[in-house]
Amino acid sequence: MNLLLFAGFLGSGKTTLIRTFAQRLTDEGLTACFIVNEVGEVGIDGRVLGDGGLDVYEITAGCICCEIASSLVTTAEQIVERYHPDLLVIEASGIAAPEGVLKALAHRRGELYQDQLVVSLVDPTRLEMLLAVALPLTEAQVRGADELVITKLDEATPDELTAARETLEDLAPQTRVSEITSDKPESLHPLLGRLAAFGAAS
């Protein structure tokens, strides 16, 4: 089993992308289980994904990169024991640092899962404000990614898009950057293809 971690700030589009990605996995005959973490006490995203027919484990009331990391490990162990999926997909909370999530699981790498991939989503319409309000978090989410995805192209102004590209280039110059928008499904195909191939490689 491989591990795919989706990170990115609150409302950056993680749940929406995962719903679409899940359909791609199904089309390719791959099995996946999903862990969704929300920092609030009441889970929303888990039910949204569950409505799409996905097998979702929900961890709420804390952040799996620090506060309740032990819950993540326990849940991952249960999933592997019960289902042996091709891919374990984790949707981190919007305030999680991906490095913290991976660190929580690191001692089980090689046993629970083999390879890992971190995809961080970036909302260009709010990036400037986010850098002002939560710079360390933003840097952690960008620098901790293996692949970056700029979302909401349809909502961003040209200046916002340019600024987002420049910011990501500054923070993570070696990291691949994709650009997607939900109103143009074709914009998702290359990214989803790479992620599905990662799942198939387990």
Binding site: G11, V42, I44, R47, D51, C63, C65, E67, T125, V133
Partner: protein, 186 residues
Amino acid sequence: MTGRELIAPYSVRLRLVPPQGAFAEPQEDVCGLLEELGRRTEAAGASLIGHLKCYVESPGGESFHGSLTSLRAGARCRGERAQGAASLTVDLTALVYGLSGDEVEAVTLATLRQMQEQGRFEWELNHASTLEPEAACEPPAGHDHDHGQEGHHHHAHEHGQEHGHEHGHDHGHDHGGGHAGHHGEA
């Protein structure tokens, strides 16, 4: 430092009842709720709306979800339309930078009262909780995962049932450590 020390997640379960018989367009009313809540959080001094989101169910089992990340983009609802619902159960989470949990709660209640006064719906608040900012969320390179360490102040304020107004709070404290659940068939 990540972001947990800057945010006090506020969650609430509401029951909304239309002024007459049934909701004609429930998604419009829920989007209106999210947008008014967003306006009021900014007016109250929020430095950033992280995410206002909700999951909504009708008595007939229809469901949809709503989301607002900025006033510029506005709120969006997706899922079943639930037209004609006689009531709606709304699980709402507000993740807002720059306001305390108590401030977010006050804004939420003020929003609900205003919408009731406008004749949009009547409301009952069945459960609410605020998780305090988590001082122990430290840099990934240096933290450990043990709970109960010094500076760890994870607790929830819970409130009992309210009907369209504020009095009758039942403040409690829940020293929780996360909840796990499972949606799916497998």
